[in-house]
Amino acid sequence: MNAYVGTPTSRVDGRAKVTGTAKYAGEFTADGLVHGFVVEATIPRGRIVRLDTSEALKVAGVLDVLTHANRPSLADKDEAWKDEVAPEGSPFRPLYDDLIRFNGQPIALVVAEEWETAKFAATLVLVDYEQDGFATDLEAERGSASEMDKPHRPRGDAKGALAAAALRHEADYLIPTEHHNPMELYATTTVWESDGKLTVYDKTQGVQNVHKFLCAVFDKKPDDLRVISPFVGGAFGSGLRPQYQVVLATLAALALKRSVRVVLTRRQMYGLGHRPMTIEHVALGARPDGTLDAVTHEAVAVTSRYEDFSRNDTGWAEQLYKSPNSHFSHKLVDLDVSTPCDMRAPGAASGVCALECAMDELAVALKLDPIELRLKCYSDRDQSEDLPYTSKQLRECYARGAEAFGWARRTPAPRSMRDGKELVGWGMATGVWEALQMPVAVRIVLTSNGHAEVSCAASDIGTGTYTIVAQVAADALGLPIENISVRLADSALPQAPVEGGSWMAASSAHAVLGAAEDIRQELARLAKAMPDSPLAHLDAANVALVDGMIGRNGAAVSIADVMRHSNIERIEKEKLNQFAEDKSHARNTHSAVFAEVKVDEQLGVIRVTRVVSAVAAGRILNTKTARSQILGGVVWGIGMALHEETAMDHRFGRIMNANIAEYHIPVNADIHDIDVIFVDEPDDRINRLGIKGLGEIGIVGVPAAIANAVYHATGKRIRRFPITLDKLLD
């Protein structure tokens, strides 16, 4: 039955991507296409008092300069601007009014026949501001934090237990602002069709989210516009919400009645969402034997003044470590920055980093091996709801990861391992993420030539959705994968949520199964009705689709024959899959991450020479693309540990390193051996295929494993990320 599921199938969109034929949002074209270039605000807070576009308009080839003063109509109610993943608050509206809410806010769009002309003319737009007092420094404003309502209720008396604990570890860990920096620049090509309708090619993780948003913002009917995004050059959460360039391109198309492309510059992308800078305060109280008495975790995070963005930074100890007393809180500080947004493993990447560094510090204080401490506190239940797990093979992750890494050879004392002139450090940490699943609909069209088209509005942001959908469909329909074509990311296709939270693999795979089951039933009915059908005496429920045939135990007939005999050219089935609600079990993925660092003592240079990530995430649909997901997560974790930081000049409320030379992300030379292990984790409760999703779990735990390895190498505990060499030389 499973010719493809569980195998290392190469990406079905691979050829398009290696030959340059895969088209991204800013690469679609149209007759008479014109180009928009964004002018950004250069103050963090205040008001535009003069916006002079006259010089820009004189440039030959400039068609218009859109501003808040001359733009076409935009919705005036917050509800219209709230997309399906918008946080509480009043969403940002580009070119809506004269108010400046963050540095880098778009304030004008220069539209010209050629991109270079628009870019040049944008430099001629003159702006005067009235600047208001502003704040961009989280640490300075920590006192103004306000508490958010979060689901993790306190258990017991954490404060009292902490005060009475035999051993206590308490510290602040600082996660800086980070930017996603997908390789593709944010771009939208809005095509003005001959009938006045709009086709919007947008860089997004959710075409239907953008479609609904644009309809609301521009007061359009669903049929008036269509959003398409066949390939997305990375997003990592930055494309969950509609970004402002899609509003600007569409606004300009409506203003000029022409097709318009808007591509942001790399610098402008630092005005989009970001991982919020967060101070994670963790306190652990333990008994001498290493069992926990109390866990408290407080996050103080940045948000904008107009929206309250927050994620679950603090509750993860409830899943991981048994403690009779716990307390969690999440506080927000409003600053004059753009609203933060989801960024790979939002909440967990930051919060678990702090928790796992704290656990390492506790292990040192208790003179326990870090794995031993974690096993002593191991929780078989999600304590916040007191639920068992659908599956949790975290113990196996520790064991398999430790074995592959050679953890038994570690000497516990810091600075006790060396390789020539370099200090060697071995550290480990736990990772955890949710196994979410969402309603998704899929349409399958089976044609009598044995070909099936599978379509769904879901996006493939590089995660491999095209490929797993093809694999699951091929197995379910009993066809070779070459006979399956997959269409995704068109708002006119069957329903899908934004691609995020690691939920798309499980959600789309089960939707494929649902539609394929309807196809099977239809074929069975037709096959049984054929004259002299070999299936005549078989129960329709028991016949299967295998190798282009339908039948059971040798009594089978080819699908092509069934359709020919029935005079049917195509069978089309669309099915919405909804997962049964089951509140009786917690659903999570887990990992154990082991890292080796080598540190040049004189220069402080840190290299991550080895990482082993042992992951328990249910059944793996595609061992090749799944490994890539985890590799990518580990690379992100290395960046988070050692490189990534958006640096703000608080005197001007302006980002200093808004480019990818000075905002450091890992390059090839930074990445060495990474070993990915998938621990066997059968799970027949979570869903039919036992799938959990992999997009986020790969990063969680990695920064802490590296920080803990740096401590082991050097004896220095760095709690302000990233761990740059200057911090080691202090």
Partner: protein
Amino acid sequence: MADLTDQIPERISINLVVNGVRRTLEVVPWTTLLDALRDRLELTGTKKGCDHGQCGACTVLIDGRRVNSCLTLAVMKDGAEITTIEGLAKDGTLHPLQQAFIDHDAFQCGYCTPGQICSAAGLLAEGRARDADEIRELMSGNLCRCGAYPNIVAAIEQAMSRS
């Protein structure tokens, strides 16, 4: 301020041999080779990731050498032979690097991929990389945010061993 229409420079006619085909185009001197390829010749396989020579997504081969096309003005390359990702496969058969990138899953979103492959083709021609460490070092001008680096190195090693 004076009438700014005269600030747009005059167009200059240039010839480029792109993927073996001679192309004549009129470009303003400020047009980069990258924008000429993408917007004028509709060869969008070459990607723009930063426009500042920081990411390598725009890497093409000019007279056989790997170059950031975003830092190259089109007028500077009058008469040059340019190979883009669209020119690597021959008669429908993938270049060994393209096949190796598929085999090793050396990409996820695919956006840096054309630049990675062109850069790797340039690297193989240079003959400077002898092992994985040298590949890593000499491919570090090509960023991959999906983090496919280990697979990129494996793909290049495969193509190197077969060439």
